[in-house]
Amino acid sequence: MKKLILALAITLTAPVFAADNAEVKVSVKGMVCAFCAQGIEKKFMAQKEVESIQISLEKKYVKLKFKKGESLSNEKIIEILKESGYDADIGK
């Protein structure tokens, strides 16, 4: 049931991720410390699909720029944020 709700929420908030584009912007909860957020940059930059990352504590988002023809699924983005210790704010 939880997976169903999560899948529905991701689908309904598709503009948050805009997966068809070369860039996606994800709202992140709990990202208040630049030192602790290092893990987000390290984890995403370890993905071969990711060309660059922009993190804003002020605007509470992570913006990913993918290499040409590459992308990450919404589930993978959420998983990487989890591994970094944060939650995607899919309600925004």
Binding site: V32, C33, A34, F35, Q38, L57, K60, D89
Partner: protein, 213 residues
């Protein structure tokens, strides 16, 4: 990945190491933290297998004793809110205490609570070390208890990649001492390096350092 784990284990077994960073960081993250004052030194090394579990090793020198303690760190609960984050950590481990020329076993238990926003920072830690007094009559009678409270604020809001500056007041209480020691710190961090310089009211200085690899 293999190289990172090799480096971690190499450092872990190196004789003079080490202590803990944030008790648990991101998956596959290595943290090195060092607390230093004129009374004590602490060095901590952690490797986070998941965002909720890390193995670590502590070296602590205080009150004539030296502790070498491998430990496990657990993130019990995290609250990720839009403008703040709060955590509850616990740690436990067993190792050795060197006091004078004698060495005895010791056991560690620690609880850490923290809450922070981009503007404010609070941190409460209690460290308990059970000493094996029966094995070493030269040890002090009481177990080692140390409570640390930290309250801080950022004078300006810096973003990711900027130099972040914080003022932090730290209050330390050892069970066997009646007074609470107050130390004021300036904390700086940028990218994956954090350092703090501090001074207590009795004039002693402190320096803390932390890095995420």
């Amino acid at each position: 990945m293999i190289l990172r784990r090799y480096i971690f284990w190499l450092i872990l077994v190196w004789p003079w190491t080490s202590v803990l960073a944030h008790p648990v960081s991101y998956q596959d993250g290595i943290g090195i933290m060092s607390y230093n004052s004129q009374k004590m030194n602490e060095l901590l090394l952690t490797y986070s297998f998941t965002p909720r579990f890390a193995l670590a090793h502590t070296y602590l020198r205080d009150s004539g004793s030296e502790f070498y303690i491998p430990r496990a760190n657990l993130l019990l609960r995290r609250w990720n809110e839009p403008d703040s984050q709060a955590n509850i950590y616990t740690s436990f481990g067993s190792g050795s205490e060197k006091f004078g020329t004698k060495v005895s076993s010791t056991h560690l238990g620690e609880v850490v609570l923290d809450w922070e926003s981009r503007k404010y920072y609070t941190y409460l830690e209690h460290l308990y070390l059970r000493r094996n007094n029966a094995a070493n009559a030269a040890l002090p009678q009481q177990d080692y208890n140390h409570t640390k409270l930290r309250l801080g604020f950022a004078p300006f809001l810096a973003d990711y990649g900027d130099l972040n500056v914080w003022y932090i007041a730290q209050f330390d209480k050892h069970l066997d001492e009646t007074k609470i020691e107050t130390t004021q710190f300036l904390r700086f961090y940028m990218k994956n390096v954090l350092w703090e310089v501090g001074a207590s009211f009795d004039g002693s200085i402190a320096f803390n350092f932390m890095i995420h690899i």
